[in-house]
Homo-oligomer: 248 residues x 2
């Protein structure tokens, strides 16, 4: 997505080399995003010349799987990644063969064992609040793996379909998929609900945690503070997470 | 789908040439099916040897976009196509750019003008009941284009998403897509609601009716009568529609 968009912007704004995009949620290959936010620095004359028609022209050159909903000048201090207050992701799973839908195979995991969402939600509670999520992250030197998870719950979206929602200030690389993999093991009975808390407390990558596939994961929403707090929020986030921190 | 399945059955049942599949709803290229039903004639020894493991083995050899939910011996007189009482199709459209979802682009039409479902449902009423749908069919010699439409209505499935449902004893080739194309023209104001009735009464293919794209169309369900009526229903359907009739 990022490369495709940078190339389109380079072409439409006449900028060589292509401008570099900063995205709110750096998604792994295969992860979807319905609510991605990005910013890009553009010389004022290039922006002025293109602004009025940019959204329409992007629509024409972008492939069908990349959609730009709107384009606007960013308020002062805005940083798509570091100004964000929180991100919301969903993960979609089908656990009933009778309700398996080939049409949705591109955004739904087929899990061949029935899931108890009660067990998953019981396990998930251990992750709420601020924790060191090193056990569920691909670690990177000098980067904090402390994150604040505000919401982590699973609901039925219809017969045979379970959707997990997770909201946090930010996520380490692989974090949502690792948490999901662990929760699925609890949901289908392979692990006890208390297992998640034990793994979390271990603070090291646990090989028993299987990272769930990327395609059912979707970045749904990124929330920012009021304009007046954007710069301050970005400065504080940068400081808290360390320059080389992993993921968004 | 049909070719892929016939090839898999040929391989797993050891039948050369491949057995020929009869499907309930012959979908155009690009049309989805969540509720397709098919029958195939198989020599008794081949069936006996393979029956117990066939569903599992099909699951292993079929590509991810073809799913066999179950395999069972057909009751006497069963014909997947001619025994059916009715078929139900849905058509999914997004008419709001703010709610356009690239993840669903494979099963949703992007319609850039807002739709009035009230207008569409008003127009749709003219199609209910038994009519000659020649105006909405690709005609075929000797085949009846008379069909009995039991239901045709549009509903909001969420913000910006409209879903049409149509139920009929059977459909001619292109019929749902042509009806949908006409209803979209009514829904966005290009045509008056009464236009559909006029086109229908004309009983000739109307060039003003644009056949809607196939990918948002899905065969959802096929309904059969009780086992005791299967053979009789098949005989009567064959007779009513003519040997060379178009579509299912």
């Amino acid at each position: 997505m990022q490369g495709v968009l940078e190339e389109a912007l380079s072409r439409l704004l006449g900028l060589v080399p292509a401008p570099s995009l900063t995205v709110a949620g750096r998604t792994d290959a295969g992860v979807h995003a319905r609510g991605q936010v990005a910013h890009v620095d553009v010389p004022v004359p290039a922006w002025r010349a293109a602004a009025s028609s940019l959204a329409r022209r992007l629509d024409r050159v972008l492939p069908a799987d990349v959609l730009v909903r709107s384009v606007a000048p960013a308020p002062p201090g805005f940083d798509a990644r570091f100004s964000a207050l929180w991100r919301r992701y969903t993960y979609r799973v089908c656990d009933s063969r009778a309700h398996l839908d080939p049409v949705r195979r591109t955004d739904t995991l087929w899990h061949p064992r029935p899931l108890s969402l009660d067990r998953m939600n019981e396990a998930a509670r251990a992750c709420l609040g601020e924790h060191d999520f090193a056990a569920f992250c691909r670690p990177r030197r000098g980067a904090s793996t402390v994150r604040d998870v505000r919401e982590l719950r699973w609901e039925r979206a219809g017969p045979g379909v379970a959707v997990g929602t997770v909201v946090a200030d930010a996520f380490c690389h692989n974090m949502v998929r690792a948490l999901t993999g662990a929760l699925l093991a609890v949901g289908d009975g392979r692990k006890a609900p208390g297992w998640l808390e034990t793994v979390l407390a271990g603070r090291v990558r646990d090989p028993a945690v299987v990272v769930a596939p990327p395609h059912p994961l979707c970045l749904e929403e990124v929330r920012y503070p009021p304009d007046s707090e954007l710069a301050d929020r970005a400065a504080r986030t940068r400081q808290a997470r360390g320059a080389g921190r992993a993921g968004a």
